[in-house]
């Protein structure tokens, strides 16, 4: 169990690592080019692993709805945005604000799709996140002295 918990934490670390490296690439090229390399290198890597271990087309992938294929183009914008932001507002701010947007839009999607959930927990959770964003906004006025 500890091993899997460690792996779950490692997965989060890898998200940050990936954004840090892509952000560095964007500093020399552009956010969109960084997103392109992220995708094509990831594609080569996954293809290699899948060829090695097999099972890429297991199941009934042809049965999935057409709109499920839209995750790729959306991911291009997502990676480009992260690469652009990390050099401008820092890794921690980028991570936290993306998490905030993910959590709040997740609640909205759950409500739209009628997923069950406590309205109290949702309200308190969203309120805390909005408060955290408000605090972050207020703290980041120009600070020429130490920049």
């Amino acid at each position: 169990m500890i091993v899997f918990a460690g792996l779950a934490v490692l997965a989060g670390v890898l998200v940050g690592l990936s954004r840090q490296i892509n952000g560095r690439l964007a500093l020399s090229t552009s956010a969109m080019e960084s997103s392109f390399w992220n995708h094509i290198v990831g594609l080569v890597f996954i293809t290699s692993v899948a060829l090695l271990l097999g099972g890429l087309f297991a199941g009934a992938p042809q049965a999935s709805p057409w709109w499920a294929y839209l995750g790729g183009p959306i991911g291009v914008i997502f990676i480009a945005a992260g690469s652009w932001l990390i050099a401008r507002i820092g890794a921690a701010q980028t991570a936290l604000l993306i998490i905030a947007g993910q959590m709040i839009s997740g609640v909205a999607l759950d409500i739209i799709m009628g997923a069950p959930g406590s309205i109290w927990a949702r309200s308190i959770g969203v309120a805390l996140i909005l408060a955290g964003m408000w605090v972050a906004q207020g703290g980041k006025r120009p600070e020429p002295a130490d920049r």
Binding site: I21, A68, G75, A80, A81, R88, S105
Partner: protein, 155 residues
């Protein structure tokens, strides 16, 4: 932007928040692929269609290179780390951690790494020391997220 990070502005916050919204859609779409096909397939397809989409956008937008000199080779390897993430989360999701535990621990790992990366200016990005306000905002956002993950039915 040679050596330091400009002051964050409202549109930075809006862009990051919007990116989080895109992430929710990605999880929905890619997760749907995983229902029908294998976990590899659910990561392979968005990387394939994403590569095509990014290439098309590069050809249409022709963004300017910031620097004429090619960056070091390792800067091109961010995609490996991203692809490994998918495999790890797929593995831990099916243990007692479930999706909520996987997401919660993943948030912890991501926030700890990004704080450390900021403090050290890892991989050649601007160095910045988090202040008291950063830790307060971090605490509020993570607390709210954990409540949503474990009690709000959002995952």
């Amino acid at each position: 932007m040679s050596d330091m990070a400009p002051t964050p502005r409202f549109y930075h916050f809006a862009a990051a928040f919007g990116a989080g919204g895109l992430l929710t859609l990605m999880i929905l779409f890619n997760g749907t692929l995983a229902i029908y096909g294998s976990l590899y397939f659910a990561s392979w397809v968005p990387h394939l269609t994403g590569t095509v989409a990014a290439l098309a956008l590069l050809i249409i937008l022709r963004p300017k290179r910031v620097a004429a000199v090619r960056p070091p080779l390792w800067t091109y390897l961010g995609g490996v780390s991203g692809a490994l993430t998918v495999m790890l989360t797929s593995a831990t999701m099916n243990t007692a951690l479930a999706l909520s535990g996987t997401i919660a621990l993943g948030l912890a790992g991501q926030v700890m790494f990004s704080l450390f990366a900021d403090m050290r200016g890892l991989f050649g990005l601007p160095q910045r020391m988090p202040g008291a306000r950063d830790y307060l905002s971090l605490t509020l956002i993570i607390a709210g997220s954990l409540i949503l993950i474990f009690y709000g039915g959002a995952a």
